[in-house]
Amino acid sequence: MTVLLKLYPPSWRRRYGEELGALIDAQPVSIGNTIDVISGAIDAWIHPQLIAIIQPATTAKGEKPMSAENLRFRCAGYQPHITRTDQRKSAATMLIATVVLSLGWMWLHVRTHGAPYVDAFSLMPFLAGWLLSMRYTYLKERSGPAQAIFMAGSIGILTLLFGLAGWITSRI
């Protein structure tokens, strides 16, 4: 039944794979346990932030090394505390921004009679909405300037890429 561990996200397997495998091996194979492990894998994919923290190796005395503690806060393991209210705000921001920007894009599309540059930006409303919603999730607890730089930078890069796609399309 340990083959079911492959259903878990790689980062989750790195952190808990060995011990979960040991627990599965120690228990009898049953339909109930199989369903439980599969639903656990689905949950792990839905909640990646649970294992986002870098888990430092503990020493014999159970003390965490300082470098590992620093990495916990400085590296990719940054994990904001996202509440249900944050999730609702994030979903609302994404939905509203996507609808408003889509309406703007549709208006431009009609006005320009489907110009290649405008068409190239058709995915932008969804991506921009997603980036803006990060304020309440991945970017929560980051400083205002850091949030602004991340979101504006990402939107800037996307604008360049979509602009390039529009330029190529207009040349064909």
């Binding site: 011990e19 228990q27 346990n33 439980d36 492990v37 639903s39 656990g40």
Partner: protein, 110 residues
């Protein structure tokens, strides 16, 4: 009854809040690895947690700093309850006890 932030954190575990509470109760006795927790919980609550449920709750408790891993023993990794975990457990058990008292009082007068 006003809920504290710590108590609310356990509520946010959703379907994992009951397994998380049982894990905290199990660990308050002393550090245990996954299998030992499953056996202990089966003994105290007559409930056998599946591996996926157990580790879903462990990941949530660990991410909130309510439990922490110790040095690994071969493939198994024991966990212990933290001071914050003890505080969360104390608050939750007091809340449950209060609700139980009110329920019993109402049953007695019904």
């Amino acid at each position: 009854m006003k809920k504290t932030d710590i108590d609310r954190e356990l509520d946010e575990f959703g379907r994992f809040s009951e397994p998380a509470l049982l894990i905290l109760i199990s660990l308050v006795e002393g550090p245990k690895h996954g299998y030992a927790m499953t056996e202990d919980i089966a003994g105290i609550a007559d409930l056998r947690l599946g591996p996926g449920t157990l580790y879903g709750a462990i990941a949530r408790l660990e991410s909130r700093g309510l439990i922490e891993p110790m040095s690994a023993e071969d493939r198994r990794n024991p966990y212990r309850i933290t001071a914050l975990g003890e505080q969360a457990l104390r608050i939750r058990l007091t809340a449950i006890l209060n609700v139980a008292r009110i329920g019993q009082r109402r049953l007695a007068t019904a």
